[in-house]
Assembly symmetry: C2
Homo-oligomer: 350 residues x 2
């Protein structure tokens, strides 16, 4: 059994902990948290060994009547691999500690790509993480784009991807964030960081991204254009994407118009926390238009313009990727084996 430690038990950490606990080949040796709150109470209730992420704050747990198994270093030392799910920037501070204990570490997308040996997406570059000591599981948006672009690149060749990311202003629990009644170009300078981040997975992919922030909390939504070398039909693209286990094609017959109904559907299906690990691609939106050949070029050079909308659940789509990254760094399974095991254990596939 692979002994897994989770350092940081917030939005991502608690989900990865639950996912790890479900894996047939993994053992959750414990989770570390900085302070007591409802999430710490829940970790205890679930029987997860709870460790203090910051030694000085350990008394707070005693005051809250929560028994801690020890400090985070004890946890890291006991693990074969540690998943760092701390807030952006804290992972970088933890790096040396993981090295001291010679424990391979996975970080989240909020950390800089320079911090690690390899940035990771299971569909994009699983094998590159094997044997790495420091691996970064890319952000929710980059994960969603990587899952979509990988099969398109393999099947048709991508001339250029142009994506507008209409981002939720904050998660439902992030009550201090906005905007409330606005649409913010964010960042206002272009391209946004998302394109370069996709290039940490696919270095040669030509992609420009634009980001905005809006008053929504449930999911991000991507307005996607992919200029393809080949000119498939929309039907062929649908079939290609439908074969990907982590792409959910929302059927028109489901009458799902946005993230609200997607989340309600996930909850009706009994998904934990209403999580949606898959990209949600509106089947009706998959459209192929004639490409455009530059002035003086023949239509044969035009390729095709693919368009679609996809919604990304920012709180959970990286969870299966973290699980796969655990096996990847330890060389415990190849990509197909790991993805199949993760998907079955979680119940991926809507």
């Amino acid at each position: 059994m692979i002994k897994v430690a989770i350092n940081g038990y917030g939005t991502i950490g608690k989900r990865v902990a639950d996912a790890v606990a479900l894996q047939p080949d993994m053992e959750l040796v414990g989770v570390a948290k900085t302070r007591p709150n409802f999430e710490a109470e829940t970790a205890v209730a679930k029987g997860y060994p709870l460790y203090a992420a910051v030694e000085e704050r350990r008394p707070q747990f005693d005051e809250a009547g929560i028994d801690v198994a020890g400090g985070v270093e004890k946890l890291v030392d006991a693990a074969d691999v540690v998943v760092d799910a701390c807030p952006s920037g804290i992972g970088a501070e933890n790096r040396s500690m993981y090295e001291e204990h010679d424990t391979p570490a996975l970080y989240q997308g909020g950390e800089s790509a320079d911090l690690v040996d390899v940035s990771f997406n299971a569909r994009g570059n699983y094998s590159e993480a094997e044997g790495a000591d420091h691996v970064r599981v890319v952000s929710c948006n980059t994960t969603g784009l990587s899952r979509l672009l990988a099969p398109l690149q393999e099947a048709y060749g991508v001339q250029k991807a142009r994506v507008t990311l209409v981002r939720r202003g904050g998660d439902p629990g992030q009550t201090g964030r906005g905007p409330i009644d606005d649409i913010l170009p964010n960042p206002v300078t272009l391209p946004s960081h998302h394109g370069p981040d996709v290039n940490t997975i696919f270095p040669d992919l030509n992609i420009d991204t634009l980001g905005l922030k809006v008053p929504a909390t449930l999911m991000h939504t991507h307005s996607v254009n992919v200029q393809l070398d080949a000119a498939p039909t929309a039907e062929e693209v649908r079939d290609l994407l439908a074969d990907e286990s982590r792409l959910f094609l929302v059927p028109a017959s489901y009458d799902i118009d946005g993230a609200g109904k997607l989340k309600e559907f996930a909850m009706d299906r009994g998904r934990p926390r209403g999580d949606i690990w898959e990209n949600c691609i509106w089947e009706e939106s998959i459209t192929v238009e004639d490409g455009v050949a530059p002035a003086g070029q023949g239509d044969a050079a035009a390729g095709a313009d693919l368009y679609l909308f996809q919604a990304i659940h920012q709180e959970s789509d990286v969870v299966p990727e973290n699980v796969d990254a655990i096996r990847a760094v330890l060389g415990a399974a190849d990509a197909d084996e790991s993805v199949a095991t993760t998907d079955e254990a979680l119940g991926i596939g809507l």
Copy 2:
């Protein structure tokens, strides 16, 4: 003086009425409204002759203690041109009435292009409206796109425009509309109607548009990509757009991050109702990336990818266009004269 009647005194009608009243060569002979409400009270307070748009509802005005000058037909008969600002679809019902009175009519973008002889944008196709009996002033979004694409097409040539329209769910007064906490692909099928609508102004322009609806009320925001034949610098594009009177380039130094601050800026400037008649283009967002030549083509064939964000005030950007359309149908002035007169009378130019 050009005698102008306004049929429909809601969001657009009341603004066009005020704009017409400010023009040196126009006389507002009256406005027609279906029922008494705060807008009717304001029309009376401003001294605009008020007519009953629906004869059967005329008693409602008496009950509200509002004197009406007569029925709408009397108003239409007294005018050289009528601006129909009724809700979408009602304009089509009014068409025959305008013909009976032999009064040229302007309709709003909510009406079908098939209803009229020509769809109109002052920057795009002013002269085509001369002598037409039925002219449609295109919608706020189409107006905003036409103003932007016209100079780009003239200066650099447009291979293809790809625009994601992040639309406000409803106006501030439309309290029954949503969404509240969601991002809706709308329409979910592609392309949205906006691209074809732009083609009513520029029949040969290659454009694909995607639309979404979000919980915002103040302005629409466009995420714009224009694949150009030529490869100008961002600086050159900025200078080109800065020369257009109805394009406002938002300087970085203004520290305006979205529609909220844009509206506040407009109100600080004393704009009526805080209206913003101009496209608001974030100067910082104007970016030119290398174009992509299809496989096997040289870079010379690539052109360039222009990106920018622009915000469109849905309640007011068509107002100056309606004023210009009045002169256009009557042949009262050429495009440059009319735009200059309209801009000076309204105080366009931020």
